[in-house]
């Protein structure tokens, strides 16, 4: 298991039976591979599918069946198709239980930037704002730092914000944070990661949950 798979596997543990789940591009897509076998979730894709299945073998690719990342998929028994307006009505109306999204930055209040980069032409937003606004629960999965080693968890966003709505849970290769009214709460460290390392690599201030334990899942 590589580090991105580790993050995805950790995120998968958050899913409950019967959840309607939307997975973003990148690490979130990997989550599907780690859903426990006793948990049945239904994957929603904003281009108009409920009940997305695994990637098909090359000989079973249907060009009319792709996910929101435009990659070929299959559907499971019990799936349905709908138009884009209906799909986003589901999202915006609060009918998606959990969205798992990638990010560029997260601020100290748990708000994220994940759609645009300063100084570059902003020519794409897609469904990011809708998913963040409408999903009942939002989980962010991300590497803790950029390729250059800069913290992605920052005091204030320098990238354009995606929504005023804060996310609920942040899962990185180093740690897990919940988001509350008063900001970020560290609830978990990845195996082998020290509190000091997490603190050093996190620009934003955060609380440390009372029930926090190293390398173990804890309930905040």
């Amino acid at each position: 298991m590589n580090i991105k798979q580790y993050i995805a596997a950790r995120a998968a543990k958050e899913l409950k039976d019967s959840d309607i789940v939307n997975l973003g591009i990148g690490i979130p897509t990997l989550v599907a591979d780690f859903i426990p076998s006793d948990v049945q979730v239904f994957l929603h894709s904003e281009n108009g599918i409920l009940g997305v299945g695994p990637t098909p073998d090359p000989e079973h690719i249907d060009q009319d069946l792709v996910n929101a990342g435009k990659m070929p998929v299959t559907v499971l028994n019990g799936s349905s198709y709908f138009d884009s307006a209906s799909s986003f009505a589901m999202i915006r109306g609060g009918h998606v239980s959990v969205s798992i999204l990638g990010v560029l930055q997260i601020d100290a209040k748990g708000r994220i930037a994940n759609w645009a980069v300063p100084g570059k032409s902003v020519l794409g937003v897609g469904g990011a704002m809708d998913l963040l606004e409408g999903s009942k629960k939002v989980i962010v999965t991300t590497m803790h730092t950029t390729n250059k080693g800069e913290s992605k968890i920052v005091k204030e966003l320098t990238y354009p914000i995606t929504s005023e709505r804060a996310v609920d849970l942040i899962i990185t290769d180093l740690a897990v944070f919940t988001v509350k009214e008063d900001g970020l709460h560290l609830i978990e460290l990845a195996p082998g990661i020290s509190l000091e390392e997490a603190q050093q690599k996190t620009d934003a201030p955060f609380h440390i949950a009372g029930s926090f334990k190293k390398g173990k899942e804890v309930t905040a």
Partner: protein, 240 residues
Amino acid sequence: MLGFFISERLYPTKVYGEEGKRMSKLITCEEAVKMIKSGSRIMVGGFGLVGAPLSLIAALAQSEVKDLEIISNNLGEPGKGLGVLVRQKQVKKAIGSYFTSNPEVVQSYQNQEMEVELLPQGTMSEAIRAGGAGLGGFYTPVSVGTKIAENKEERTIAGKKYVFQEPLKANFALVKANKADQLGNLIYNKSARNFNPMMATAADVVIAEVDEVVEVGQISPEEIITPHLYIDFIVLKGGN
């Protein structure tokens, strides 16, 4: 009628293999109605009695709940469908488009036993859709300059007059479908579809009364009108 490719080879038995587990949405009318407290706001599908969840309504009529706020195009007929709730004075307020067809509604209203809020049928159906779709409201040109719009915000957009309509939501939606699969995917029969698909999106708890429950996979993904994520509970028509 449409062929569709289901990757059963890839997902063999895990998901739907456990018989019965996915039937957990199926409850009795009595169980359904027990969730409903006096004072609840309830959407009820149907155009007159067509597409109305008559078994759920009958169970509601058997119950003690009162002070209901009903969102429904009509209020049944005298002693039929929602008309029974009117006769039994269980309805505090009704929001809909056409109540004239039940003279007992007129009488209850005149006796001040019941409040009534009237919306043009298109405005009503759109407001329910907006409620389910997470919108804050919309502008419709319908009813501008009429009595219906008297207390509503009017706005001119691109030279045309519109009135603002807020979304409608409810605590419960009681809808009627033809078939449900065991997950709760729904299809409707002919003109019995009417308000049901929108109402299924716009309430905290959505209960579908159906003629028949079929196995998952018996309804093609292309045909499904209400995806199962909208449905919390299923009851069988006529049944316990």
